[in-house]
């Protein structure tokens, strides 16, 4: 799969997709104004950024980023979040992804990250 496959999949879900870039020039795919569907964060609206990955085969980046921050920043707490290189207001969620990367498995991974936030 490629970044473009992921974008196409997300658009197919009816999501609005934009882009962003951090100060080092790394480009990101941004899912805009996404409403979290379930879990303790259900109903919260955020932008979700995933760094573009140009490698072959695709390697899922080790984090997703949300704006606004959805939980208190703490890199050593169980949720392992911190400030994001994307800038003020963005939150870096360090999360491992060890499955075969497909657009569907990546989006499931993103939703699972939100589901794992306890009330």
């Amino acid at each position: 799969m490629t970044d473009d496959d992921l974008v196409e999949f997300l658009r197919g879900l009816g999501l609005s997709i934009g882009s962003a870039q951090d100060p080092t020039g790394t480009p990101y795919i941004v899912v805009e104004t996404f409403t979290i569907p379930s879990g303790s964060l259900a109903g919260r609206v955020c932008d979700i950024a995933i760094a573009r990955s140009r490698s072959v085969p695709y390697i899922m980046p080790p984090a997703i980023h949300t704006k606004p921050a959805l939980v208190p920043m703490n890199s050593s707490a169980p949720l392992a979040t911190q400030g994001s290189p994307l800038g003020s207001g963005w939150q870096y969620w360090s999360r491992r992804f060890d499955r075969t990367p497909t657009p569907k498995s990546i989006w499931t991974h993103v939703l699972t990250i939100f589901d794992q936030v306890l009330p």
């Binding site: 085969p57 899922m60 050593s76």
Partner: protein, 471 residues
């Protein structure tokens, strides 16, 4: 880098052919006829570009329908079959013709064989694909011979024989060498004991195969020495690092002087190989650079098999892909040592496995985590703050605790897996991935292994993907 059918260009590059085990089996089945009957098929191939070698990778057989070739003991193809295949070739791929002979070993060409490739095919295929026709012949012992036809001048094509064909299968690495371009080395007194164990035939291949060693540190420095001793005479060494004082307890031949002079690890290994080799001559290409570059990858692609002696996830992931995309087997090993808080050994184990077509990749073996590759790529494994925030289990995985005896064991089994693969003998290297647990002191083996059906690495088999972008 691109390939063309220009004769001078073909002669300037070293050439080889690579076939995966499943493709080899398919062709073998296709050629299996009762009585004395030859057969043929067209096929697609794709170029893989090394630093000095271009490898033509067999991609897919375009098997003939019954009325598309004429079987009368000999075999010939119809114009309709050729037309169909020429119309099928995708952009960037080449077209080849393989036919079977009824004898063993490297095969010469009959007048009819030459006429078919030189007269009927060379110009038509070059014109359609921009690449030379690749002709191959299968011998009854499974040996492959190969050549391309280059354009010398208008309407004139000349043969360029290919020195080596490799078949990367699940249980072996079969090499067929052109008897004149790559003759078998003469028996040597210095290898007498070695040959007495695995035989002259295996030694003849060992003496001609080109092996790449990636990482010349604790394991790699020993691997290099072992290769030299067993008679490997053609080696590519890849490492960007130099000797430091902290390497002296685990890098073979490294001295205090090397540490103070910051000797490049590849130069140290090169010198020791030149000093210790048992072959009549030895070629060592010492590439003082990183695998994480187009040039580093190209040097790896010059080889017939690779031994991975690096522990960082990103280069291991690249070698994992090379194994499949370029049908280039990679032997990999890893050491994991945990200690208690007060510095006593808690658990030590090491693994040795070979990856490539027909075998499970490093991800599917559980020997490499995709998430570790992502962290390495993003520089997180060099970020002390990030490492400090990880769980103890994760931190321990990134600790490079390694001592010389561990490295001796891993290096020995890596070389044995290489020799066993070339000799096609499980009696040398066992049946599959090996896992040693220091306590209680047990080596276990996974008899069968294969990739998950949806594995993204396996999906790249024979793709010749260069995967340089992004690194």
């Amino acid at each position: 880098m691109t390939m063309s059918y220009d004769l001078a260009g073909l002669r300037d590059r070293e050439l080889s052919v690579a076939i995966t085990g499943p493709a080899d089996r398919l062709l073998r089945d296709h050629f299996d006829h009762p009585g004395r009957q030859e057969d043929l098929t067209f096929f697609l191939w794709r170029p893989s570009y090394g630093h000095r070698r271009t490898t033509l990778i067999f991609v897919e057989a375009l098997l003939p329908d019954d009325d598309e070739r004429i079987l009368d003991g000999n075999v010939s193809f119809t114009s309709e079959y050729l037309t169909r295949c020429l119309a099928t070739v995708p952009e960037g791929l080449g077209l080849g013709l393989v036919h079977s002979h009824l004898g063993p070993g490297w095969q010469g060409m009959s007048k009819d064989d030459i006429a078919a490739e030189q007269v009927r095919l060379a110009g038509a295929v070059a014109g359609r694909t921009g690449l030379p026709i690749l002709g191959m012949t299968w011998g009854t012992d499974g040996a492959w011979s190969a050549r391309v036809w280059g354009r010398a001048e208008r309407f004139k094509y000349e043969r360029v024989d290919i020195p080596v064909v490799r078949v990367a299968a699940a249980d072996r690495l079969t090499l067929t060498f052109h008897p004149r371009l790559r003759p078998a080395p003469a028996p040597l007194p210095a290898q007498e004991a070695t040959v007495s164990v695995w035989g002259a035939k295996a030694q003849a291949d060992i003496g001609r195969v080109r092996i790449g060693v990636i990482g010349l540190g604790s394991v790699g420095s020993i691997v290099a020495e072992a290769l030299s001793r067993v008679g490997i005479s053609d080696v590519v060494l890849i490492d960007h690092d130099h000797v430091e004082m902290r390497n002296l307890d685990r890098t073979l031949h490294a001295s205090h002087q090397d540490a103070s002079e910051a000797t490049a690890k590849v130069r140290l290994a090169e010198k020791s190989m030149v000093d210790s080799h048992t072959s009549s001559s030895q070629t060592v290409v010492a590439y003082e650079g990183t695998l994480l570059s187009a040039d580093g990858i190209a040097h790896a692609l010059d080889c017939d098999a690779l031994i991975c002696c690096v522990d960082r996830p990103l280069p291991r992931s690249i070698l994992n892909v090379i194994a499949y995309a370029h049908a280039l087997p990679v032997i990999d090993g890893g050491i994991f040592a945990r200690t208690t808080d007060d510095g006593r050994p808690l658990h030590v184990d090491w693994r040795i496995h070979t990856v490539g077509p027909g075998r499970a990749c490093l991800y599917c073996l559980g020997a490499l985590l995709r998430s570790d590759v992502a962290l390495d790529r993003d520089g997180k494994l060099d970020d002390s703050d990030y490492i400090a925030g990880l769980s103890r289990a994760d931190r321990e995985r990134y600790n490079r605790r390694n001592v010389f005896p561990f490295s001796l064991s891993v290096a020995a089994h890596e070389v044995l897996q290489l020799v066993g693969m070339i000799a096609a003998s499980p009696r040398i290297a066992g049946l599959g991935p090996q896992h040693y647990e220091a306590y209680p002191g047990r080596m276990s083996v996974s008899v069968t292994s294969s990739c998950e059906p949806d594995c993204e690495v396996m999906a790249l088999t024979a793709s010749a993907e260069q995967f340089v972008t992004g690194f």
